[in-house]
């Protein structure tokens, strides 16, 4: 798949400054160029990046029903207009802004903005906070010491393990594999307890700081704890993979192969791209891991990629914690006069997230953020068409969407 594509012409973000549009392009390298609506219209995902998903569907016996914004099957509040003439889904138009918090960050200093980034999507809290801090550190020209950089990788990989267990648990739950679901969620709880034991908080709130961490963190013993957890996961995953019900419900469900997707969704479509390899914000080159891919682009493919990535993440943590033990807290106060702009891309558990910020007098003046959920939502919309209602949850959960990160950050 990869050889025939020009990855540098993939639209991965769009932002506006005044009347001007800027396109953010490229997978391996980031190109930002001034453009216009006419040029942007040629990209299939241009409107989706602005959360616009087409208009209503009309036809003989076609009707629309609304699912959400609050419904038992959904973890977060989101609405869907589902067009159908019976069992088959013809079109889904997501309405993701019900719970939009309109988070205001412009005018804040880095430290206060960090509190908001941590809580933009708490499930990817360390991803957002580290990406934001890398931008600020680049602007100020701060060198981050090696132990802090390695600890950041440990946090990101723990977050990935915890999230992938959650997604696999949700998929297993949707397939009524209750014993597997209970065990996967129990395993995820074990990961959260490990995170809280070593970092003091189950979602890494209050840990990250500018070129530093704000509490002493001792990761001694974490490698062995994660090793035994990954062994247990392997047993569980082997047994779950033998379940015909589980496999049948996911196989060929919501096929999405577009190259503008990110993360496990992109890799499950056969594209060998991982921001941990292409971006050098963190020293991933110092650890060994393999990028996991699959070719089918269906819900099962995305689940398999996540399961394999989980094991890779466990190995990364073991490699780092073999050398890293105690990381002492440090505090760096930002010079109030710093100015400039920077961009950071980072591989969150659901894929590449992109943050672009400008600082003026030490305060944020411009922010553009493209979350993995925003990049992948059109993949779901395209893929779910022609599937049936009962496929909906398998499709939705397999992407690892978080509605909170579809909201505005201003």
């Amino acid at each position: 798949v990869s050889r025939n594509l020009n990855y540098s012409d993939i639209l991965t973000g769009v932002f506006q400054e005044g009347d001007k549009y800027y396109a953010v392009k490229g997978l391996d390298k980031t190109i930002i160029e001034e453009t216009g609506v006419t040029q942007l219209e040629k990209y299939e995902n241009f409107h989706a990046l602005k959360l616009e998903f087409g208009s209503e569907l009309k036809g003989t016996e076609v009707f629309c029903f609304t699912y959400g914004p609050t419904a038992g099957g959904l973890t977060e509040s989101i609405g869907f207009d589902v067009y159908t003439y019976g069992e088959r889904i013809l079109r889904v138009i997501p309405k993701p802004l019900y719970k939009n918090r309109n988070i205001k960050i412009s005018g804040l200093n880095v430290s206060d903005a960090l509190l908001r980034f941590e809580r933009y999507n708490a499930v990817f809290s360390s991803s957002y906070s580290i990406a934001f801090l890398r931008c600020a550190e680049r602007i100020v020209g701060l060198d981050v010491e090696q132990d802090v950089q390695l600890l950041r990788i440990v946090m990101l990989e723990l977050e990935r393990i915890s999230h992938h267990l959650y997604v696999l648990g949700r998929l297993s739950e949707a397939a009524s594999q209750n014993v597997a679901t209970a065990n996967l969620f129990a395993l995820r709880e074990t990961v959260l307890r490990l995170i809280s034991k070593h970092f003091g908080h189950r979602y890494f709130f209050g840990i990250n700081g500018l070129a530093a961490i704000s509490r002493d963190v001792d990761v001694g013993g974490l490698g062995n704890e994660i090793k035994s957890l990954s062994r247990e996961f392997m047993v569980l995953w082997d047994m779950l993979s033998e379940s015909r019900i589980f496999v049948d419900r996911l196989q060929t469900t919501c096929i999405a192969k577009q190259p503008w997707m990110v993360g496990p969704a992109l890799r499950a479509a056969g594209h060998n791209h991982d921001t941990r390899e292409s971006d050098h914000s963190l020293p991933y080159k110092d650890v060994y891991f393999e990028v996991q891919t699959h070719g089918d682009g269906d819900s099962l493919g995305r689940a398999i990629v996540r399961a394999n990535e989980l094991l890779e993440s466990a190995q990364i943590i073991q490699q780092i914690t073999d050398k890293l033990k105690l990381v002492k807290k440090r505090r760096i106060i930002l010079d109030a006069s710093c100015d400039g702009g920077a961009i950071c891309r980072l591989e969150s558990p659901s894929g590449d997230l992109l943050i672009l910020i400008k600082l003026s007098g030490g305060k944020l003046s411009n922010i553009y953020l493209r979350s993995p959920s925003k990049a992948n939502l059109l993949g779901f919309v395209n893929g779910i068409s022609s599937n049936v209602f009962t496929d909906f949850h398998f499709a939705w959960e397999s992407f690892g969407f978080w509605v909170s990160e579809l909201g505005d950050i201003l």
Partner: protein
């Protein structure tokens, strides 16, 4: 099937004994910080007043960690009203009014085998019509305000309302709290609250263990 059975037997019982036993592996920074030394603290939500912390406002950011240390006590909820008619069977409808996702997951975690809220006669329900209580997470986003009120009205009497998490309890950095929109019976502070804290609030709201 045989494999799952053997796996389950080998695994044994993992469920906590809480509330009769103690809460295990509690995240320190989900509990109340208490002053351990002097010094000025720059609290971003003004949760600290004198030597005390108003947990409904606390976002567990740890900025006070030079002068404050968490006390590891999970029983933090303020139960303004309970109803013992729910003691044997208590059905909860969860509504996300505008959260970051953490509170949603901590509430959901109560269903995993380590907490197993069903053993205490507490259940999640997928429709407000079958619910005894509305459990709200997050601040009230503009577009969720009507949804919140409509959901509350769909729950039959008698009913209880929980505000779970500091956003729902006080609005914190992000907006309007649930307490400003609905009469709230139980405040469960924390950012996010520890699952044990939520479990304790649910137990006390239904008048104790059956």
């Amino acid at each position: 099937l045989k494999n799952w059975f053997v796996y389950g037997i080998k695994k044994g019982v993992v469920t906590t004994k809480y509330p009769s036993g103690k809460a295990e592996d509690v995240a320190a920074w989900s509990t109340k910080p208490v002053r351990v030394s002097g010094g000025q603290v720059d609290c971003p939500t003004s949760a600290i007043c004198g030597g005390d912390v108003n947990m409904a406002k606390c976002i567990c950011c740890g900025r006070c960690s030079d002068s404050f240390a968490p006390n590891d006590v999970v029983e933090l909820a303020e139960v303004r009203m309970n109803n013992s008619s729910f003691k044997r069977s208590f059905h909860i409808y969860i509504l996300d009014a505008g959260s970051c996702g953490a509170c949603n997951l901590e509430v959901q975690a109560l269903g995993n085998p380590l907490y197993d809220l069903n053993r205490l006669g507490i259940f999640f329900t997928n429709t407000p019509r079958h619910a005894d209580a509305l459990l709200v997470v997050g601040v009230v986003a503009d577009a969720m305000r009507d949804v919140l009120v409509e959901t509350y009205e769909a729950i039959p009497e008698p009913k209880l309302v929980f505000a779970v998490g500091s956003c729902a309890s006080s609005g914190t950095l992000f907006g309007l709290s649930v307490t400003k929109v609905l009469k709230t019976d139980i405040i469960v502070p924390g950012c996010p609250p520890n699952p044990y804290t939520i479990l304790d609030a649910l137990i006390r709201a239904k008048g104790g263990v059956k």
